[in-house]
């Protein structure tokens, strides 16, 4: 499976670099991560709870960072295994300074999955992984904002990462959106609610009018 995308961080490249190379921050960015520990200069091990459609479970994983060119680019090799199957792959991440003080992240990777994850989760895996990356990057961006505020004001970092439930809800919303465009869903809900309200108002007015008879 090919993964490719980009994301704009609201902060300078050096700050983004520090952030993405900090295992603690990374762990909070992908909720479900139960631990992420640095075991070598460029090597991390940890475990993460993942749910994709009907497939859920804990993955034990190892991440190796290589080809580091601070603060421009690095390569990630990920290898994870658990009851739901396995996944491994490599990804290349590049950071570009933008004129407006923001940072563009581009990533492309190749992922192989196996086990239940592949055989039962196949239909959902593409959307789910894209959404998880997107949600994860958004959490990272929020963490970045919190860091920058703390630095500017000389206070402690006040950032509460999303809980696993919040994260899962966001992913689920994304995936539902894939099946039915979200605007359409909202439209249907709004229309239904509006219709119900109108019906109630009409009923109340009508009942009131009858009482006055």
């Amino acid at each position: 499976m090919k993964l490719e995308g980009e994301y704009v961080f609201d902060g300078p490249r050096e700050a983004v670099w520090e952030l993405v190379r900090d295992p603690e921050v990374l762990a909070t960015a992908l909720p479900g991560t139960q631990s992420l520990e640095q075991v070598g200069e460029n090597e991390y091990v940890g475990n993460m709870h993942v749910r994709i459609g009907p497939v859920a479970g804990v993955f034990d994983g190892r991440i190796i960072v290589s080809d580091e060119v601070p603060p421009e680019s690095y390569t990630l090799a990920v290898d994870g295994r658990g009851a739901p199957g396995f996944g491994n792959g490599t990804g290349h991440v590049q950071l570009f300074e933008q004129d407006d003080g923001k940072t563009l992240m581009q990533y492309q990777g190749d992922m192989q999955v196996g086990g239940r994850l592949a055989s039962v989760g196949q239909r959902l895996i593409d959307t789910a992984s894209k959404s998880m990356i997107q949600q994860g990057l958004e959490s990272l961006n929020n963490a970045l904002q919190a860091r920058m505020v703390a630095e500017a004001e000389g206070t402690d970092v006040e950032y509460v990462p999303p809980t696993e439930a919040e994260f899962a809800a966001a992913v689920a919303k994304d995936m539902a959106g894939e099946m039915l465009p979200s605007r359409q869903v909202i439209g249907i809900v709004v229309a239904a609610v509006a219709a119900a309200v109108v019906a109630m108002v009409v009923a109340i007015v009508w009942l009131g009018a009858r009482k006055e008879d």
Partner: protein
């Protein structure tokens, strides 16, 4: 014998039990003290097993034992092959590699079992499976059958020089010379992908070793209980009578349940003997997708040589057959493909080069059709291409080449799946094809209906193909028929039953021989303690081989009945008749004796009997055909394609079948309905999709599309009857015929419907997506 019941459209005697939930299936078996098993299976398709740590699983409360290959000691060994390897023939290469009970060194397909957990409940066993840590080093996988023999391909089996499992060529006449004389030679690549059998009931086993009686009982969803019993006895050093294998009601076999010996059968037997407690294992649907065998999976480079008059001079094909990770079933499937690659036609020159390859995918053994659909697809596609090239009518070119009725027995001059000469015994192939053409309204459709519908903008097409089906192969089956003292009749035979209606059609045979109602005939199948000689249910042979054995045993009992009744009634045998459970003097209905009374007299408690007398009214007989009976038929359909969505709608489906003597038309119709449903599935729905790492990507019934009633049309059935001269009943098999020609007919109909796109259908199965791609590839 008068045919009162044979040939009757009798409702099935087993159905009330099945429909009211009273029938015993393996999962219904409950034995006191029974434990439950779950397997740890490899997620990788190809990997080296470095180590395996089961300590956490063993420590879980409720876990009784955890076993790996190492624990089995000397009991760990690859299974014996299912079928005899090819005899030493010149030019035949065959490397036998059979499945192992649990992986010891290397995983060769995803889903191969690494460890067995036995626990107080299935829930605990499943949880404990997740406690096991297996250190697996992934290896590159061999997935694509066409590149499996590339020099740089990884090897599935380390001890072999390549992934070549077998190589065999067959030749009839001189194809090269025929090609030189031909006016037209057409070459194409044809591909048929993998499918599952998709039986409603997955596999299941209850294995029970009783240490005190030193007896093993195995309830098993097998199609071959007797070979399983014999094999397990040999593997575990037991005498055959110490092992009883029971195949109770089985929710569909379709081929994969003939496989012996599944690793689970061996390892559960070993485990119950270790623990002295009964163990149940019921396969779940996901396991079924990985651990139960699959089929199809061939690529052909095919060639046909024809004259401008449309006479076929020869066919050549060089093909690769995917056997998966192991080849326990020998060459049965690709030999069947060769046996059907000339279809129903008289083709003077033939050359076939077969290469079988190992891949890191689930093992391939027969699935309903068993190589035959691939052969028919080849012959029929080539004829369609030739007809187009020559501008000939597709029925015309077929009629020109069919084996004529006076050519039987027709010797094909190649070998069949048993390495014996392939002979077609009987039939009237033109009659079945013409009947199908008449039923579908061939002329009228092409001349009137299709032009009219096309003018309305509808893409409607017709497909029509004849086919043959080799059935009823040997070696033999047997049966014991007994008249009980209450006048009812018991029948026991060795074949297993997976929904074929054996209880009814076998009873009909006995009823006619003994003059009783089929409802008074109790049939037992698939229990080795009831009958222990035989081979199993496969190759559409139940009605032919077991049916004729039952007929022979019933005829022997009839003789005993007549001999005894003749004495009792003091009347010559030829003046007696067997009617309504009585032996009567013809024309004097008052003078009669009941079958039950005769059974009592045949087994006296005191007194003397004549020397040489056998007790009871019972006989055991066997039937082994000289060679297999060959059924034939023709299918025709009309379908409409929506060129925007590529969804199809089958408007009509017609089959004409010649399965010789029809024992029960209702059951035959049912076989055809089911067969056609699988054929349609093989054409447009069911396809197992593997990625480049050997991961099966649609291992659930949400993603693997088994068609439902809404996709399967009403099937109109016609019959021709050419009794087989090879057996007294004149029967031929019909179990696979419904499936075999469907992809060929379907491909022709789709091409016809989309004729304005100039499409050629050279692969199966298709799907809306795939058809869309094919049409738009041509556009580009």
């Amino acid at each position: 014998m008068t045919k009162k019941y044979l040939g009757q459209r009798m409702t099935r005697t087993e159905d009330p039990r099945l429909l009211t939930g009273q029938a015993l299936f393996v999962d219904d078996v409950q034995v006191p003290g029974m434990l439950h098993a779950a397997f740890l299976r490899s997620d990788y398709a190809h990997a080296r097993l470095k180590s395996i740590d089961v300590s956490a699983a063993k420590g879980r409360t409720g876990v009784v034992a955890v076993f790996t290959a190492e624990d089995m000691g000397d009991a760990w060994r690859p299974s014996p092959p299912n079928v005899s390897p090819p005899p030493g023939m010149p030019g035949v290469t065959f490397h036998s590699r059979t499945p192992v009970p649990l992986v010891k060194d290397k995983v060769r397909h995803a889903g191969e079992a690494l460890a067995l957990v036995i626990a107080e409940s299935r829930y605990i066993a499943e949880d404990a499976v997740e406690d096991i840590w297996a250190e697996l080093e992934p290896l590159d996988a061999v997935v694509d059958l066409e590149t499996a023999l590339d020099p740089d391909a990884p090897h599935v089996h380390d001890g072999l020089e390549s992934n070549l499992a077998a190589h065999l060529t067959q030749e009839k006449g001189d194809y090269e010379a025929a090609r030189d004389q031909a006016d037209v030679v057409i070459k194409r690549r044809l591909a048929i992908d993998r499918c599952a059998a998709g039986a409603m009931e997955n596999r299941g086993i209850v294995a029970h070793w009783d240490p005190k009686s030193e007896h093993l009982t195995l309830w098993d969803t097998t199609q071959a209980p007797i070979p399983i019993r014999n094999g397990l006895a040999a593997l575990f050093g037991l005498a055959a009578p110490q092992v009883r294998v029971i195949a109770p009601f089985v929710g569909g076999g379709f081929g994969p349940k003939i496989m012996l010996y599944y690793p689970e059968e061996v390892v559960l037997t070993w485990a119950t003997m270790q623990l002295g407690r009964p163990i149940k294992w019921i396969e779940d649907r996901r396991e079924n997708f990985f651990a139960t065998t699959q089929e199809r999976g061939q690529v052909h480079h095919a060639e046909i040589a024809v004259t401008k008059e449309g006479r076929v001079l020869g066919i050549r094909h060089d093909f690769v057959h995917d056997t998966g990770a192991y080849n326990p079933y020998g060459l049965t499937i690709p030999l069947n493909t060769q046996s059907h690659s000339m279809g129903a036609y008289d083709i003077p020159n033939y050359y076939s080069d077969l290469k079988v390859v190992f891949t890191n995918k689930t093992i391939v053994t027969p699935v309903r059709g068993a190589g035959r659909p691939q052969g028919i697809f080849l012959a029929e596609r080539l004829l369609d291409l030739a007809a187009k090239e020559l501008g000939m009518d597709r029925l015309e070119i077929r009629k020109k080449n069919l084996i004529p009725p006076d050519a039987f027995p027709y010797e094909h001059k190649i070998i069949d799946q048993a390495f014996a000469p392939l002979i077609y015994d009987s039939g009237n192939y033109a009659a079945t094809l013409e009947k199908a053409a008449a039923m579908i309204g061939y002329e009228e459709f092409l001349k009137e209906e299709q032009p009219r519908l096309r003018a309305e903008g509808k893409h409607v097409g017709l497909g029509i193909v004849p086919f043959v089906e080799t059935t009823g192969v040997g070696p033999y089956e047997g049966a014991r028929v007994t008249v009980e003292t209450d006048g009812r009749v018991s029948v026991a035979t060795g074949v297993g039953t997976q929904g074929q209606g054996h209880f009814t059609s076998f009873a009909q045979i006995v009823a006619d021989q003994l003059g009783v109602s089929p409802r008074d005939v109790r049939v037992v199948t698939g229990d080795t303690s009831e009958f222990h000689w035989g081979t199993g249910t496969f190759a559409s042979r139940g009605a032919v081989v077991a049916g004729n054995a039952i007929n022979a045993a019933a005829a022997s009992v009839r003789k005993k009945v007549l001999a005894l009744a003749s004495k009792v009634l003091d009347t010559p045998e030829e003046e007696l008749e067997l009617v309504d459970g009585l032996v009567r003097v013809a024309g004097l209905p008052d003078q009669s004796v009941g079958l039950g009374e005769l059974a009592v007299m045949a087994n006296p408690l005191r007194g003397a009997v004549e020397p040489g007398t056998e007790p009871g009214l019972e006989s055991t007989d066997y039937f082994g055909p000289q060679y297999g009976a060959v059924a034939n038929g023709a299918h025709a359909l009309i379908l409409e394609v929506d060129p925007e969505t590529m969804m199809i709608e089958i408007k009509r489906y017609v089959t004409v079948e010649d399965c010789g003597t029809v024992l029960n038309p209702l059951i035959v119709d049912g076989q055809i309905h089911g067969g056609v449903a699988l054929g349609i599935a093989n054409s447009y729905y069911e396809q197992l999709i593997y990625d480049e790492n050997g991961q099966l990507l649609n291992a659930s019934l949400a993603d693997y599309l088994i068609p439902t009633a809404t996709e399967i049309p009403r099937v109109e059935i016609g019959h021709e009857v050419t009794p087989s001269p090879l057996n007294p009943l004149g029967s031929k098999g019909v179990g696979e015929g419904g499936t075999i020609p469907v992809p060929s007919a379907f491909a022709q109909a789709i091409e016809d419907a989309l004729s304005d796109y100039g499409l050629e259908v050279l692969e199966m199965p298709l799907s809306p997506n795939r058809l869309f791609e094919l049409v738009h590839q041509r556009d580009a």
